[in-house]
């Protein structure tokens, strides 16, 4: 196994680059970070809409969330793969297809986590902000959301981790990410699939574990600073 790492570590890290397209862990990170950055604000918007006092806004956002949650991610990726070109008239790369599908999918799951966070904020917090003359939007933005997002940070971490792992599904539409790179290596070696895929699993695990430990360290330090421990 060490031999495989010695020979192929660069392929695991960056794919065929610079002799071919960028891939491997680097591409996985790019897809994951882009998807997270894009899904997070959408998720906040959906969660706020679902907690709104306007009925039609609640209903519309609930429809979106329930629809997306009701279909398998793989189906959504295929669907984006075929539908986006028809809708936009442009041939869209596998990379952007994957980013779009992950964004839509994760936004709907993440929004439910955030909605739970919003629901957990005591009514008195909203009343305090409103009684000072704060508008609804200011109250949501400055009082409810900062506390809600912080309270559900463990749940948000889980969704981020899911996003990272789900980038591996890019493999089926030939996105050059980490699983794709591992498969290329496996095709060259032919005889050691167990070792190659074990290395792959370890890389995913380390990535997700580090992210989770990092966010939890941030959470603890903020809690300590605010006297909430």
């Amino acid at each position: 196994m060490l031999e495989i790492i010695q020979d192929y570590w660069l392929t695991f890290l960056i794919g065929q680059y610079p002799n071919g397209p960028l891939g491997g862990l680097a591409m996985t990170l790019i897809v994951a970070v882009l998807s997270i950055l894009m899904s997070f604000p959408i998720a906040i918007g959906l969660a706020v809409a679902r907690s709104s006092t306007w009925r039609w806004l609640r209903l519309a956002s609930a429809c979106v969330v329930n629809f997306v949650r009701g279909i398998p991610l793989l189906m959504l990726i295929f669907w984006c793969y075929f539908v986006i070109p028809i809708m936009t008239g442009y041939a869209v790369s596998g990379f952007w297809t994957l980013v779009c599908a992950l964004t839509i999918y994760e936004a709907s799951y993440l929004s439910e986590v955030i909605r739970a966070g919003i629901a957990s904020i005591p009514k008195g917090q909203t009343e305090a902000a409103r009684s000072l003359g704060g508008s609804y939007m200011l109250t949501v933005r400055s009082v409810v959301l900062p506390q809600a997002l912080f309270n559900v940070l463990p749940g948000i971490t889980s969704q981020f981790i899911s996003t990272i792992k789900e980038t591996s599904l890019g493999y089926v539409i030939a996105v050059n990410e980490l699983t794709f790179a591992a498969n290329q290596i496996n095709n060259q070696l032919l005889t050691q699939p167990l070792q190659v895929f074990t290395i792959l699993a370890v890389i995913y695990f380390l990535l997700c574990f580090l992210l989770s430990r990092g966010l939890s360290a941030i959470e603890t330090s903020i809690r300590r600073k605010r006297g909430l421990l």
Binding site: G124, A129, R130, S131, L132, G133, L138, P146, Q147, G227
Partner: protein, 247 residues
């Protein structure tokens, strides 16, 4: 009496089938300290919450500084800047420092310059005896300290009237005094105050008027002397002996 700051005129409110405010009329003049008391469920918290429209009303008229609080075109965000509100559960923002709690409204709502807002906030924190806690977070403060910060936060908008909704009811007994001290000093400064409270000592000492409520109605609106020394209503007598019993 000078022109009323708060005036309720035949206000009615229902929670489903419950008639929680029944034809309530009340005038509060500038500089007055009005204590509202009564048994639990009598509608006193509901009453005070209708004054800054945290609760809607069914009918009647409620004026605050001459503005129709529950009128259709009323800008509630603007109106609420002219009336402070102190909650039973303090409701400080736990994700902000004490200073940020107090400057929240001046900076984020009134868009005043930060330096000016912070100077005012430090002045107010000194007034409630917590100048050294400005950079602390609410999570590090005792209940009494949190409530004093909440009072400073309400004062930061420099409102002409402050409403207190059972400000000491959630406090441990040894912390009640420090909050009442702050409230008494406000009263001495001539602040117009409406206080829902069970603190009868406070009511007697600084109250200009006692409003006694029962079952959604104002039963008696009188001076502390008459209320405590010559209660002429059986319901008040029972209430006073109940309150004494709990202390």
């Amino acid at each position: 009496m000078t022109a009323a700051i708060v005036s309720l005129d035949h206000v009615n409110k229902w929670y489903g089938p419950h008639h929680v405010l029944q034809d309530v009329s009340l005038e509060i003049g500038k500089g007055e300290v009005v204590v509202i008391c009564g048994p639990s469920g009598s509608g006193k918290s509901t009453l005070i919450r209708t004054i800054n429209a945290l609760e809607p009303i069914r009918d009647g008229k409620l004026l605050l500084n001459g503005v129709d609080v529950h009128g259709k075109g009323t800008d509630l965000n603007k109106l609420r800047q002219s009336v402070g509100f102190v909650f039973q559960q303090f409701n400080l923002f736990p994700h902000m420092s004490v200073l940020d709690n107090v400057t929240f409204a001046p900076i984020r709502i009134q868009k005043r310059p930060r330096a000016e807002a912070e100077a005012l906030a430090r002045e107010l924190l000194a007034k409630v005896g917590l100048a050294e806690k400005a950079d602390s977070f609410p999570g590090f403060l005792s209940g009494g300290q949190q409530q004093r910060v909440a009072i400073a936060r309400a004062l930061a908008l420099q409102p002409p009237v402050i409403l207190f909704d059972e400000p000491t009811s959630a406090l441990d007994p040894e912390m009640v005094g420090e909050v009442l001290q702050v409230m008494k000093s406000l009263a001495r400064d001539g602040m117009t105050m409406v206080c829902v409270t069970h603190e009868m000592g406070f009511a007697r000492e600084v109250g200009d008027r006692i409003v006694f409520m029962d079952q959604g109605r104002i039963v008696v609106d009188t001076t502390p002397e008459l209320f405590f020394d010559a209660p002429d209503h059986p319901r008040i007598k029972r209430f006073l002996s109940d309150v004494k019993g709990e202390h």
